[in-house]
Every structure is written in C-alpha cells, then in structure tokens.
C-alpha cells in the first residue's frame, strides 16, 4: 500500500523513490513531502530506511527509480557539494565532526559552499587581510553562539561531552543559513534537559527554515512535528499529524515487538551509507 497525502507546497519531496542494495529492497516507492516552513518528522523502526532517504536526497545514494524534487524542480545529478549553496543542510546520525579540527574550524567548514574566492587567491591571501575568511569566522561564531557552544570554539571534538559535540554539528549545519535542515537523530545520546532545549530550538527555526527530522525519541517528535511520515521496511505506512500517527494501527503494529528505542545509544558512528 502506498500512502499519499495531499500537500500544497512541499519544499522538498521524494516521488516514488526505490533503492536496493545487493538485491535487497531498502526503499520501495517512497513518496514523502516536506511542506515549506514546517517541522516534518520521518520515523520508523531501526533499519526502516530513514537514513537512506537522507542519502538519496543528498546525492550519496542513487535511487533505482523515482525522483527528488526541491522547490518544484527535479534534482537531477545533484552534486553533494552544491547542496548547502542551494539551501539544503544535513547533519549525520552520530556526530560526523572532524576530530583533528577545532569546533570553530568544523563550523567554518559548513560555510565552504559560500566561499567565493578561488583556490589560488585564498591560498595566497594573507590571513589578516582576508576579509572573507573573517566573515566566515564571524558567521561560524554566530552559529556557535546560537547553539550555546561559543565557549568551546577552540577545543577539539574529542575534548567535549557528546551532547556538546552534537550541538557543534548542528552549528555546522546552520552556518550555511539553510532553507531546509535534514536532521538525522539530533537527540541521539543526549539527556532530557538538552532534548527539551533542542525541541525549542527546532521550533524557533520555523517557519523561516524548514526541518525534516529523523528521530527515535517519540516525545520529541510528537512535540515538535507538524507532520509525520512513518516508514517501515522501506515503505511509507502512515502519515499525518502527531495525533493521527500516534493512534494509527499500522504504526502501532510496526513498533510492536520493537525494543524501546529511546534508550538506544548506538549513536557513536556516523552513518552515511
């Protein structure tokens, strides 16, 4: 069964995306839409294919069939490095920070798509005369301030507690001033207080930004999402408001027999593929 929901203005959507790895059907004609200015949830049991949806959207995985549309246009041959310039930003399941770069450098990197000066000009320009470098630094510090991690700017990721690393990763996604944020389990491995703050933060971004949230913590999902898509074994099995999804028998069945994910701490790996 395919689930369709009438959506007026999806900013980002997948249309009948199918993906298989080695004969295994990972996504089966998945069509989901993210209305502009909304927080949209994408939930489902482990292995349902949520990260794979992100991978298709960001060009890491080529679908066997189907298409991704952004702002009404089909994304064809998307180059991953163009995404931030187009306004699409993603965080990885886990942290995905560069361990040998400081927090500030990690966040500055998120603005790479906006660096205009060429390689040679940049390499030759002396740092103290390089206005662009300073501009990016300022933006990075503003993003870190928004996430409350400015005081960690000169530390390496390994020196920070896990929840702080997650905030730095969020700052990196924010620094390119994205229209759409794809967040893959931003609450993984963080405590209740941090999670409440994360919920407030996500809500504060809309409607200027649009958020697609993959998350196992149901209370967070139910609290912040306007719309939720439910994926199970590569298929969309339900969609609707938090109320509707919570009471949907298909969703209950999919989660039945599943462990309680809220205590999952398998977040130390960066899942791209």
């Amino acid at each position: 069964m395919r689930y369709h929901l009438p959506l007026t203005h999806p900013l980002l959507q997948t249309v009948d995306i199918s993906v298989s790895f080695g004969g295994l059907q990972i996504l089966d004609e998945v069509s989901i839409g993210i209305p502009e200015g909304s927080v949209t949830g994408l939930i489902g049991p482990n292995g349902a294919g949520k990260t794979t949806v992100f991978n298709v959207m960001t060009g890491f995985v080529k679908p066997d069939s189907g298409k991704v549309k952004y702002e009404g246009n089909r994304l064809r041959h998307v180059k991953t490095h163009h995404l931030t310039k187009m306004g699409i930003s993603r965080t990885l399941q886990g942290v995905g920070l560069f361990p040998s770069l400081t927090a500030r450098e990690n966040v500055m990197l998120g603005a790479s798509g906006h660096v205009r000066s060429g390689i040679v000009a940049d390499a030759l320009a002396m740092p103290w005369t390089d206005a662009e470098q300073r501009h990016i630094r300022d933006k990075a510090e503003a993003a870190m301030a928004e996430l409350g991690v400015l005081s960690e700017a000169d530390r390496l990721p390994g020196e920070m507690p896990y929840p702080v690393q997650k905030r730095v990763a969020l700052a990196r996604a924010l620094v390119s001033d994205p229209k759409v944020l794809l967040l893959d389990e931003p609450a993984g491995g963080i405590g209740a207080a941090d999670m409440r703050e994360l919920g407030r933060l996500i809500r504060s971004w809309v409607p200027e930004r649009t958020v697609l949230l993959v998350e196992h913590h149901m209370e967070l999902v139910m609290e912040v999402c306007d719309l939720i898509w439910v994926l199970d074994a590569g298929k969309v099995i339900a969609a609707g408001s938090p109320e509707e999804v919570r009471n949907d028998p298909a969703v209950l069945a999919a989660y039945l027999g599943e462990d309680d994910h809220e205590d999952d701490h398998e977040d130390d790996h960066e899942t791209v593929h």
């Binding site: 960001t58 490095h81 995905g96 790479s112 390689i119 940049d122």
Partner: protein, 292 residues
C-alpha cells in the same frame, strides 16, 4: 667527536631536502591515499626544465620558479589523467599506475635531454664556511637550501592552518563525504594536493641537483629515503614528514661518514622495517595501524 659534528653538519641540507620529498609523498597520500612512486620522477622532470630555463636565461632563480609552476601542472595532469581514472576502478591499481608514470617520465626525459648525467652547479658558493681556524662542511649553498625549505614549510603550514582552502583540504583528506556535505569541492582539493606535492617536489629537485647530478634516474635513490621518512612519520603527518626527513638525512650522513655512502639505502630499509615491526601506524599518526 669533531667527525661526528662534521657528518651531522654535512647532513643538514640533504635532510632538509629529504624532508621536502617526504612532505610531497605525504601531501599525495593525505589527499588520495596513494603512495606516489612517481613523485621524484616528476621532480627529476621539472629539474630538467629548470636546467633548460637556466641555460637559456642564465638565471637559477627563474629556473626554480618555472620548475615550481611545472611541478604544479605535472601534479595536476598526473592526478586527472592517470590517478582519477584508475582509482575509480581500484586503489592498488593507482599505486601501480604511479610506477608507470615514473617509467614514462624517465623515458621521456631521456628522449628530450639524453640519458647522460648533466651538471647542475649550485647558484652560490658551495664550499664550507671557515671559522675557528678550520673549514666546516656547511656552505652558503647549504644555508640557501635550509632557508628555502624553512620558508616553504612555514608557508605551507600557514596555508593549511589559516586559510579556507587549507581547512577544506584537511577535511577532504579525512572524510570526503562529510566534507562534500559541508559544501567542499572535494575533487578539486584532491587535485590541489597533487599540485602542491608537485610544487614541493620540484623545489626539492632543484635544490638537490647540485648535491648529486641530474640524470633521468639520478633521483631514484631519494625515493627510498623520502619514503622511509614519510612512513616513519606516519604517512599522513606533515610534521612527521619534516621531522623524520631531516632525521633520515642526518642518519644517512652519519652512516656515509663512518662507513660508506653505499650503505645508506640499506640503513634506510632497516629503519623502515623496524618501524613497521614496532610502530606500524607511524610515530606522528593519529590513526590506528594502517594496512599497507
């Protein structure tokens, strides 16, 4: 004791040059995870270009600058024409392909410039300074070599640590996919790694030529030393490459001084084996043991 000091002094400039060569190998390894066995072949080729420019214009410095530019270009060409197509199929193929590039460059050089060794005289006095009533094995040319290497290493470290491009290169080397997601044009950064390595190798070639001779194969031996230094340094550590490059130069100078210079490659290999046995991840690497 005075012998010991003499040997060490005599090894400084060749150590500095080996450091540059190791640095070039590390730059390529960091960007594409390929050991470039053609690195010194490229350096040989650009040194011939420097020689030609020098013969035409009489300027050593102009020869150096043209060789550096040629090094950049050759690095980019090798990356795009050979490494990228082959690497798409498999990585070990790319490493073998660098041997192919080495052989091709040596053959091409022999065709263009002939196979006989050419003299590449130093641009300034290469006889030792006199002080305290004796001549020390350290010349104005050695000083020039040392100054050039220090300048280049400092310039590179500024680029790597202080610029957007340097940041993007470090990120691309560590995790290309996350770098791409951040908006980094990773393929360009990899090509830039090959280009800078080509430039660094070109400087090393021009600097080392007066200390040996110039023939299509005369730099081959330096590959052994540079490779040893790069591996002991951890293959992806720029600091390690420089430190162990100089160290290797000094060890070679001591071995050559106390025994015979023909023993130097053997000693380098012994160092390499000891390193692989006892600290296979390299001294400066932050990665776990590597599978090479």
């Amino acid at each position: 004791m005075i012998d010991f000091i003499d040997y060490l002094l005599g090894g400084i400039s060749s150590g500095a040059i080996i450091a540059l060569m190791a640095l070039a190998l590390v730059l390529v390894w960091r960007s594409t995870r390929v050991v470039n066995f053609a690195q010194l072949g490229q350096a040989m080729f650009t040194t011939y270009i420097a020689l030609t420019v020098r013969e035409l214009t009489g300027s050593w410095f102009l020869g150096l600058i043209i060789a550096m530019a040629a090094g950049l270009v050759v690095g980019v060409i090798v990356h795009f024409l050979v490494i990228r197509p082959v690497k798409r199929l498999d990585t070990s193929g790319a490493i073998i392909a660098t041997f192919g590039v080495l052989i091709a460059l040596e053959a091409l050089a022999a065709m263009v410039w002939g196979g006989d060794p050419e003299a590449f005289p130093p641009p300034i006095n290469n006889s030792g300074y006199e002080a305290f009533g004796r001549i020390w094995p350290f010349s104005p040319y050695d000083l020039l070599v040392l100054a050039s290497v220090v300048f280049l290493v400092l310039a590179l470290s500024v680029v790597f640590t202080r610029t957007n491009v340097g940041l993007a290169m470090r990120a691309s080397a560590f995790n290309p996919e996350v770098a791409r997601l951040s908006g980094v044009r990773v393929n360009r950064m990899l090509a830039l790694g090959w280009a800078i390595a080509g430039l660094v190798g070109a400087v090393a070639g021009v600097l080392v030529a007066p200390l040996s001779t110039l023939s299509p194969t005369s730099f081959d031996i330096f590959l052994v030393f540079a490779f040893t230094a790069a591996v002991i340094g951890g293959l992806d550590s720029l600091v390690g490459a420089v430190a162990f490059g100089i160290g290797t130069g000094l060890v070679i100078a001591l071995v050559s001084g106390y025994s015979d210079s023909s023993n130097a490659p053997l000693v380098a290999l012994v160092l390499l084996v000891l390193n692989l046995l006892f600290k296979p991840e390299g001294v400066f690497s932050h990665h776990k043991a590597r599978a090479v």
